[in-house]
């Protein structure tokens, strides 16, 4: 048998049909659904008189536009258009008999945090969702990627997706990370090196000692941003850490079924001689705490660097770089660590897990914020409860942070959590596009520890100085 990558193995196990031209019908094990990209898909099913083919494999949770303030169980406390989408999801989940975590349920949260937390996401699976950050689930060695609403409808109706196989890309992070450097710095540094289109057409497998050393939370952060590097999916081979995380979760296999699953999962790794279409290697020691300065996630620099000039970019990118500098209100040559911050946002499917809150709280302990506002939005109700139990919530509140309910919140600002024009934010989320966190808002992406450091000093700060 010819050697295979992890991606090849999962792919081959899920091809239900392959046409002569290579177009495949891929079987889907888990379909995650949220309120914003699904209403038109369910409407399509109704109009065609179709049902959901596998309701047991379909899990819905409202997250994108729900308020993160108390009282949100009452639709009157939502904006009218949000309430309409949430009510539509309530109804669709009930009518079609799919698993559902409403806003009133403590298990509600960001779909990419709820899936792993509840044991829906398991190694070797295919996982899709109408959201590009579905790549997150790749941390478990699952082939997971975002799909459009027409594809959501297709998966609901057929439990399959029409796909062509992507190419294999290996991103290896060798050696150890230095103190103060986190999973977020890894994933941003990779995008800084390969660009936002560097992974287009590929599935990335992240490997190497620095990746193996990461916790499951850290691995989810790395895979989450595969899409910002252009790859639909990122993968990490499952290992003992993965099995340990999964074991005992509500929807993970139990007893004899656990053993059978484990036997299969242990075959899920890239064979030694497997073919890679592209390989990128970065030394763990070379990665510094980084921030973004521009309006593309590839605009990444170490916190010790200076704002670049537009002329320093290649031909086609000069215009985009100048546009970024103008939008962000930055001057070339200015030290990144001199940039003053108005707001700090800690949360999102990239960095809204318990480990992220611990990392931020560690820096914030006993300190006060020096920014206009700061908020923590836990990734799920269960993360929130755990953080309260561990005393993290008190640290945040005493420092001056708002302690919110779970949701996507200011990562994409579809709910009332938004930046004002010109407001500058240190954010642990995943996109710094123009207007992403609110029209005219200025976003700098970074790790939770770096965001906490910025909250204390009021400007972008090298967290290593506070350790």
């Amino acid at each position: 048998m010819s050697p295979k990558t992890l991606y090849d193995k999962i792919w081959d196990a899920h091809v239900a049909h392959e046409a002569d031209d290579g177009t495949c019908l891929l079987y889907i094990d888990r379909h995650l659904v949220h309120e914003v990209t699904s209403p038109q898909a369910f409407e399509g099913l109704r109009m065609a008189g179709r049902s959901v083919r596998a309701p047991d494999k379909t899990i819905a949770v409202p997250d994108h536009n729900v308020p993160t303030t108390p009282g949100r169980e009452d639709p009157k406390n939502m904006t009218e258009d949000s309430a309409i989408q949430v009510a539509a999801l309530d109804k669709n989940a009930k009518d079609f008999g799919i698993h559902y975590y409403p806003v009133s349920d403590v298990r509600q949260g960001i779909v990419h945090i709820v899936g792993p937390e509840q044991g829906w996401t398991l190694p070797g699976m295919t996982v899709v969702c109408g959201d590009s950050h579905t790549a997150t689930h790749g941390a478990f060695g699952a082939l997971a990627h975002g799909i459009g609403t027409s594809e959501v409808e297709h998966v609901l109706a057929t439990q399959t997706l029409i796909q062509r196989k992507g190419k294999n890309m290996k991103v290896e992070i060798t050696g150890k990370l230095s103190p103060g450097v986190t999973a977020k710095d890894i994933t941003l540094s990779v995008i800084g090196k390969t660009g936002t289109a560097g992974g287009t057409g590929y599935v990335i497998e992240y490997c190497g000692e620095a990746i193996r050393d990461l916790s499951m939370e850290g691995r989810m952060t790395v895979c989450n941003m595969a899409i910002e590097g252009g790859a639909r999916a990122g993968l990490i081979a499952p290992d003992e850490k993965t099995f340990e995380y999964v074991k005992g979760r509500p929807h993970a296999p139990k007893a004899a079924q656990w053993e059978a699953a484990l036997a299969w999962w242990k075959t899920l790794f890239s064979d030694e001689d497997a073919h890679w279409d592209k390989v990128v290697t970065i030394k763990g020691e070379d990665i510094a705490p980084v921030v973004t300065w521009g309006t593309s996630p590839e605009d990444v620099l170490p916190i010790t660097a200076e704002v670049p000039s537009a002329d320093s970019f290649d031909g086609g990118k000069v215009g985009a770089a100048q546009r970024s500098l103008d939008y962000m209100g930055l001057t070339p040559g200015q030290k990144l660590s001199d940039i003053e911050i108005d707001t700090v946002f800690i949360g999102s499917c990239t960095n809204g897990r318990i480990e992220d809150l611990r990392a931020a709280a560690e820096i914030l302990k006993g300190k006060k914020i020096a920014v206009k506002r700061a908020m923590v939005v836990p990734g799920s109700g269960l993360v929130r409860a755990q953080a309260e139990e561990e005393g993290l919530a008190d640290i945040f509140k005493e420092a001056g942070f708002e302690w919110r309910l779970a949701g996507c919140s200011m990562c994409l600002a579809m709910n009332p959590d938004q930046l004002a024009p010109g407001e500058r934010c240190a954010a642990t989320s995943n996109r710094n596009f123009e207007g992403r966190q609110g029209r005219g808002g200025r976003t700098h992406l970074m790790s939770p520890a770096m965001a906490a450091a910025a909250a204390i000093t009021g400007k972008l700060t090298d967290v290593r100085e506070m350790m």
């Binding site: 196990a13 899920h14 239900a16 046409a19 031209d21 290579g22 019908l25 079987y27 914003v36 990209t37 209403p39 038109q40 179709r50 309701p55 047991d56 494999k57 904006t79 258009d81 309409i84 989408q85 539509a88 398991l122 070797g124 590009s132 990627h145 799909i147 459009g148 594809e151 409808e153 297709h154 109706a157 057929t158 399959t160 029409i162 062509r164 936002t196 289109a197 287009t200 252009g230 639909r232 929807h251 296999p253 139990k254 079924q257 656990w258 059978a260 699953a261 593309s296 086609g316 990118k317 215009g319 985009a320 546009r323 579809m414 996109r431 596009f433 123009e434 207007g435 992403r436 029209r439």
Partner: protein
């Protein structure tokens, strides 16, 4: 879905690289439960000022491009969010084809589900077409799906690649779901194979 065969129309130039789906349709317009009506908010934050007035410099606000049916864009068009609202907004505005050196994967797929043809061409070809588009409404480009060519207003022609299944569906306006449902036996067989491999991972409704 509408069939796509041959299109001759005005092309609007958007040379900016990395035009993301947040630019194409900002999130405040995702709170709809319909597919239609998004054209008026296409490129909203580039197209209108804070008071909702048109920004005259923006390409689609210029009189010669108001009826554009083709976009010629910088590399990595459609990156970012998976929102299908992006092709819905383009379609609702009247854009039927986008030409670039590269597209983000999810956006590229989403286009075909909505009768929009994304065309990938080498940089030299896109440069020629960008110049052609800058001529305004007198320059009409032709996109011929059957022959897989784009022809500039000067008659310069470029061939593009496209996978045959996507071409077939677009030319015939086919609904994927119906086609897939014809393969029910193969899907059922795969489901059972999955179940046997790891039964606890695959809650079958028996």
């Amino acid at each position: 879905m509408d069939k796509f065969e041959k299109l001759t129309g005005i092309a609007a130039p958007m040379p900016l690289v990395n035009i993301d789906t947040d630019m194409i349709i900002p999130k405040q317009f995702l709170k709809t439960i319909k597919r239609s009506g998004l054209g008026v908010n296409l490129f909203d934050e580039m197209r209108y000022d804070d008071n909702g007035n048109e920004i005259p410099d923006f390409v689609l606000n210029k009189s010669q491009y108001r009826d554009a049916e083709i976009l010629v864009a910088g590399e990595n068009f459609g990156c970012g969010s998976s929102r299908e609202h992006a092709p819905w907004a383009l379609k609702d505005f009247g854009i039927k084809s986008v030409i670039s050196t590269s597209f983000a994967d999810i956006f590229y797929n989403n286009c075909f589900k909505n009768g929009i043809l994304p065309i990938v061409l080498p940089k030299e070809a896109v440069d020629v077409l960008m110049k052609d588009a800058e001529k305004g409404s007198n320059a009409r480009m032709t996109v011929d799906l059957e022959n897989q060519t784009v022809t500039s207003s000067d008659g310069e022609s470029f061939s593009f690649e496209l996978d045959s299944f996507k071409k077939h569906c677009l030319m015939n306006g086919l609904d994927d779901i119906g086609l897939t449902m014809e393969k029910a036996t193969a899907i059922e067989a795969l489901k059972l194979r999955q179940h046997r491999r790891a039964p606890g991972c695959d809650p079958l409704r028996l």
